[in-house]
Amino acid sequence: MAAIFQGVGAAAPLSSSLSNSFDSNKSVFSPRRSFSVRKRASFAVVRSDGIVNLNPNGRSAQRLVSNAVATKADGPAASSSSKPGHELLLFEALQEGLEEEMERDPRVCVMGEDVGHYGGSYKVTKGLAKRFGDLRVLDTPIAENSFTGMGIGAAMTGLRPVIEGMNMGFLLLAFNQISNNCGMLHYTSGGQFTIPVVIRGPGGVGRQLGAEHSQRLESYFQSIPGIQMVACSTPYNAKGLMKAAIRSENPVILFEHVLLYNLKERIPDEDYICNLEEAEMVRPGEHVTILTYSRMRYHVMQAAKTLVNKGYDPEVIDIRSLKPFDLHTIGNSVKKTHRVLIVEECMRTGGIGASLTAAITENFNDYLDAPIMCLSSQDVPTPYAGTLEEVTVVQPAQIVTAVEQLCQ
């Protein structure tokens, strides 16, 4: 059912020239600047732009914006870093991240439908129940609102649950718990209770799964105060975001995509996390800023191939953090290119793109040479028929046309 994407397609030839500079930043103890080591940190934060930061809470004065995508499967870069890294698929990266965190902290547990014996409907929790037991990897009955609430109660009393929605759409049934308890309880209790849960699951438009299994819940959840939302798109950031989400004291909703689980990539062997609040620079450019996330990243990169051939130089940013937005990375880009195109899979109305458009207009209006363009899915329940489904989501040809229009 899932398409197989190798590496990140269009960006591969563009990255090789930058891979050397990327490598030198990859070694763990790069003497780029002085830093203070956090006493409790036992991990290094490898940021999306490749800079290793042993002081993850410190703010960097300067940032090297290089091609920040992790080494591709066909790139030579991997072999020249300190360790060779290993290749895996996105769902395996998620599993690896989850397993490592469960090893590291015995309070981390998983709850959801079919996560235990079945190994997860998309195999993200495969093998974990055998290893950690049926209580730590809990097969729940089909009662989303209640087991999400149960996870929240467990989090309040000391555990760190990872709650899986078999399909993100099912979490609509858990909206009561996610909105009222997950998002608000820390505040209404005056800060007495923390809710360090991770709510994760696959969403997005798949291959003819029908309207109800093709939902994009990020737009529904974005107004809930007190939660963070991130969307993973590569094995590298999937593992990094999973680990960061589990370690975070805030409730985090991690959006995965049904069609991206079989993406293959080589990722580092060493422990790393991806910053939950940062966006990822996929391809630096000069002419236009394209903001995207999750599966649309690949449609954008495919369009980028065509655009480059036509002489355009798009800057592609995977926003990754859907709530809050990384206004620094986005702002820097807008200030450079003065043109913004948002490509998302959300519905047109009230989607992430709508919020992002508002945020950019509010903060960077003076830097824009043209109105922001936003390409979203149509406000249509996703049809079953393949031909119709194809036109409800944004396709690369539309992205090319939009950029051409923007850059006139």
Partner: protein, 432 residues
């Protein structure tokens, strides 16, 4: 007795309340008279005793019925249910609950607190009967009618009153209000505005207890969780879903139904196909008990067994307490629908009066001692009001605190710094 709310008032009922169509599990329920109703008095509801909690361990064969403390018990054995010390403790807690709620009403009408305030008058026996048996590490989860649960669990009256006044010294820094009483120290896990949404949270707390024992190997962890909720909630999906999960995993939890017969203006009988809530326990594989919720001693006996079960790892119990609220649903409720005779009937069964009578008749305490307690409580409540009055209101700077446990969640601003590092954040003037 209780003729006023016999069939006459409820002729509109589309179905008889006689268990004519019951299954074999219910063969033990025998109504004394065909026209007697479930509500009204436990004397009408004759339940044959299945010897206290004669429960098969196998789910599905657990019987619902047992009204544990039979009146004949006290006649047959001279031993009392409580010691003097316990009696005084219970009395004090009952009086605290009542006096506090009465003061809340006064303060509300004087404009010291606002919004929805739901008072517990009349139901004190349930809170006292259950919560006074708990340890500090045990957890309590309640609904919006939570002031007295918090007080029984040990949250100081000052903290609760301040919270109601919306002051920073409140147990939730003034951010929660009447319907959201939380205390980490005393393990009060809320305080929820939507009915039913607290039950999964309680189930989660019970899950943690089991997890600590079995995964984290804290062998002596036997923390129990009590979930309090009303009759209206018993028609809600989360109730049933949690009964299932708790029984499935044998979680150390007791589901306490405070059946006060009314969900705002909706009579329990008009909303529920089978009004016997305790019967729903065995459907999920746990014992279901019905008890007179106006009698603190009866509640306490049932609670002992239910909490004991949970502590021993034998799983959950569903306890239905027949109780009554003397006031309206909230201070905004004109309370016009309830029959005055019904109210009078339950007023005559005031739990405080009942315990007072028991203590004096059994020579456990004198009038003077009880008066001393009442005076002490009056002072505690007065002091709470004074403290709350004098406490400061939250400063603007408090607005953005506690939204996130880790304020990095507000994100990175255009200047590259985390927004929480912006001084406007600590002032509370930043826009998020």
């Amino acid at each position: 007795m209780a003729t006023a709310f016999s069939a006459a008032k409820f002729t509109a009922q589309p179905f008889p309340l006689n268990p004519a169509s019951t299954t074999s599990h219910d063969s033990s329920i025998v109504f004394a008279k065909p026209t007697s109703l479930f509500l009204g008095s436990t004397r009408k509801l004759r339940l044959t005793s299945y010897s206290k909690f004669n429960l098969s361990r196998r789910s599905g064969t657990v019987d619902a019925v047992s009204d544990v403390v039979k009146q004949k018990k006290s006649k047959s054995s001279p031993s009392l249910l409580i010691t003097k010390e316990e009696g005084l403790e219970l009395y004090e807690d009952l009086v605290l609950g009542r006096a506090f709620e009465d003061m809340c009403a006064q303060m509300y009408y004087r404009g010291k607190m606002f919004g929805f305030v739901h008072l517990y008058n009349g139901q004190e026996a349930v809170s006292t009967g259950f919560i006074k048996l708990l340890k500090q590490q045990d957890s309590v989860v309640s609904t919006y009618r939570d002031h007295v649960h918090a007080l029984s669990k040990g949250v100081p009256a000052r903290a609760v009153m301040s919270e109601l006044f919306g002051k920073t010294t409140g147990c939730c820094r003034g951010q929660g209000g009447s319907m959201h009483m939380f205390s980490r120290e005393h393990n009060v896990l809320g305080g929820f505005a939507f009915i039913g949404e607290g039950i999964p949270v309680a189930t989660g707390a019970a899950f943690t207890s089991k997890y600590k024992r079995e995964v984290l190997k804290e062998a002596d962890c036997d923390h129990v969780t009590l979930a309090f909720f009303g009759d209206g909630t018993c028609n809600n999906g989360q109730f049933f879903e949690c009964l299932n999960m708790a029984a499935l995993w044998k979680l150390p939890i007791v589901f306490v139904v405070e059946n006060n017969l009314w969900a705002i203006g909706m009579s329990h009988l008009r909303a529920t196909s089978d009004p016997h809530i305790y019967k729903k326990g065995p459907a999920f594989g746990m014992p279901g008990i019905h008890v007179d919720g106006m009698d603190v001693l009866k509640v306490r006996e049932v609670a002992k067994e239910a909490i004991g079960r949970a502590r021993r790892g034998e799983g959950p119990t569903l306890v239905e307490c027949e109780t009554y609220r003397f006031r309206g649903h909230s201070l905004a409720d004109p309370d016009e629908l309830r029959d005055p005779a019904e109210k009078a009937h339950y007023a005559a069964r005031d739990p405080i009066t009942a315990l007072k009578k028991y203590l004096i008749e059994n020579s456990l305490a004198s009038e003077a001692e009880l008066k001393t307690i009442e005076k002490k409580i009056d002072e505690v409540v007065e002091d709470a009001v004074e403290f709350a009055d004098e406490s400061p209101v939250p400063a603007r700077s408090q607005l953005l605190e506690n939204v996130f446990a880790d304020p990095k969640g507000f994100g990175i601003g255009p200047d590259g710094r985390y927004r929480c590092e912006d001084p406007k954040f600590t002032e509370g003037t930043a826009h998020v």
